[in-house]
Amino acid sequence: MELFDELTALGVNVDDGVNRLGGNEALYKKLLGTFVKTVKGYDIKPDFDSENYDDITEKAHAIKGIAGNLSITPVYEGYTQIVSLLRSKEPERAKDVLKKILPVQVEIMGCIEKHSG
């Protein structure tokens, strides 16, 4: 199965993402690769400090922004919730959402990496 089909099956709104780039599929694919590198660099884990999490909020906010712009909808929706919970000082609930979204995120990123080689 091609990358775009697989991503679509994983809930990514590929058409929307490509349209945002004026139909430039090659650029969309390139940006998916950049997305993987960026998110890996952030390395957010559910065991973050429940008292001091400003840094996590900033990272989650950044992931939300780029996931939204690439229409990686499940990740975007998950981090939208996480950011909102962190802003309203509910880190434990944010951790629960993170635990749920991480496997989906790993699967999507794995799919992108598999096709990037």
């Binding site: 940006l31 900033e58 906010h61 922004g65 712009n69 939208t80 950011v83």
Partner: protein
């Protein structure tokens, strides 16, 4: 097709910058900045930026920091700024609007709407900026024409006095140079460059009251009788009264300088001048400056009743009090000016 307009995209996330660049690349030149400091540098280095797409949350100088800098430099009034945000941070957005941002772009971007919204605002700002330039040019032209009319009037008066009109121009040049020197040396007399320029322009009207003095007195080759001298002295008050009838011919501050200069340019520091016998700093400094310039020019110019004195002789006469007593600080500045530039009549207006 060559693109005329440039957009500055500011976002710490490369993906967001690339997406925005892709959306706008057909219609605009693109400059990218990955943080607030880079954005400020780009704004300072490029005078042709038509819009800024500005991420609010960035490490280091954030979007609000960029807005504050733009407000300080005045750029916010000519360049529309769109705030980029992925969430509802009401406090930041309100502050952004207060600092002058025009609109908010939410992530994920909606390309079609974004293109239209930004192009509409850029066009609107373009018209507004063009209009502001036209108004500025028209105001400058009106001021120039106004000043020309004033100079024509002053020159016409000088012609009656057998002068070529060069006298008023020399007075304006000397007034500007001397006022600048006084302002530089003495904080109590400090004036901005703009105000000094207004004073210099106002000085051309100093003798406008001579229009009311009969030719027989104005052009008398010999010494004036005491009665004739009394009539001659009236040119200060007549000039002042004349100007008081036309408060709208020039802007408010220039008008005030003109009236003061007309009335007080024959007053002297020791109170022995005319028409009001003002003393010391009761005489406005601009009128004091014109007094010195006027006396120097009268001494060094040929008149129907006298030959010209040399520059050196004229300076000595002014310093020795032969033409009345002047403010010592003013004389210091006058002397410094002569040492720096020689003949003060050569000063450019």
């Amino acid at each position: 097709m060559e693109k005329e307009k440039t957009i500055l995209i500011v976002d710490d996330m490369e993906i967001n910058r690339i997406i925005l660049a892709e959306i706008f690349k057909e219609s605009y030149n693109i400059i990218q900045a990955s943080d607030g400091n880079q954005a400020i540098e780009a704004l300072n280095a490029n005078s042709d930026i038509s819009a800024v797409l500005l991420d609010l949350i960035m490490p280091g100088t954030d979007g609000l920091g960029v807005l504050r800098d733009m407000k300080k430099s005045g750029k916010i009034y000519s360049i529309p700024v769109f705030l980029i945000t992925a969430e509802e941070n009401e406090k930041m957005l309100i502050e952004g609007y207060h600092l002058g941002a025009v609109d908010v772009i939410r992530k994920p971007f909606m390309s079609h709407f974004l293109k239209h919204r930004i192009s509409n605002i850029v066009e609107l700002y373009g018209h507004r900026n063009d209009l502001a330039k036209v108004v500025e040019q028209q105001v400058a032209r009106l001021n120039y024409l106004n000043q020309s009319m004033i100079e024509i009037l002053a020159t016409a008066v000088e012609f009656r006095d057998s002068e070529s009109g060069e006298h008023v121009k020399r007075i304006a040049g000397m007034t500007k140079a001397l006022m600048t020197e006084v302002s530089k040396r003495y904080p109590e007399y400090y004036m901005t460059v703009d105000e000094i320029d207004k004073i210099s322009k106002s000085s051309v009207l100093h003798d406008v009251g001579k229009i009311s003095i009969p030719d027989s007195i104005l052009n008398k080759p010999g010494r004036l009788t005491p009665e004739e001298y009394e009539i001659m002295k009236q040119h200060t008050v007549k000039g002042y009264d004349f100007l008081m009838q036309f408060p709208d011919i020039i802007d408010e501050s220039t008008y005030r300088y003109s009236c003061d200069i007309c009335r007080y340019h024959h007053e002297r520091w020791d109170g022995r001048g005319y028409p009001d016998g003002l003393k010391g700093d009761e005489i406005p400094i601009w009128a004091q400056v014109v007094s010195v310039a006027d006396v120097y020019d009268a001494l060094t110019a040929e008149r129907v009743y006298k030959k010209p004195f040399s520059h050196e002789k004229a300076v000595d006469m002014i310093k020795n009090g032969e033409c009345g007593i002047f403010n010592p600080k003013l004389l210091n500045a006058f002397e410094a000016l002569i040492q720096m530039h020689g003949n003060p009549s050569d000063q450019e207006r």
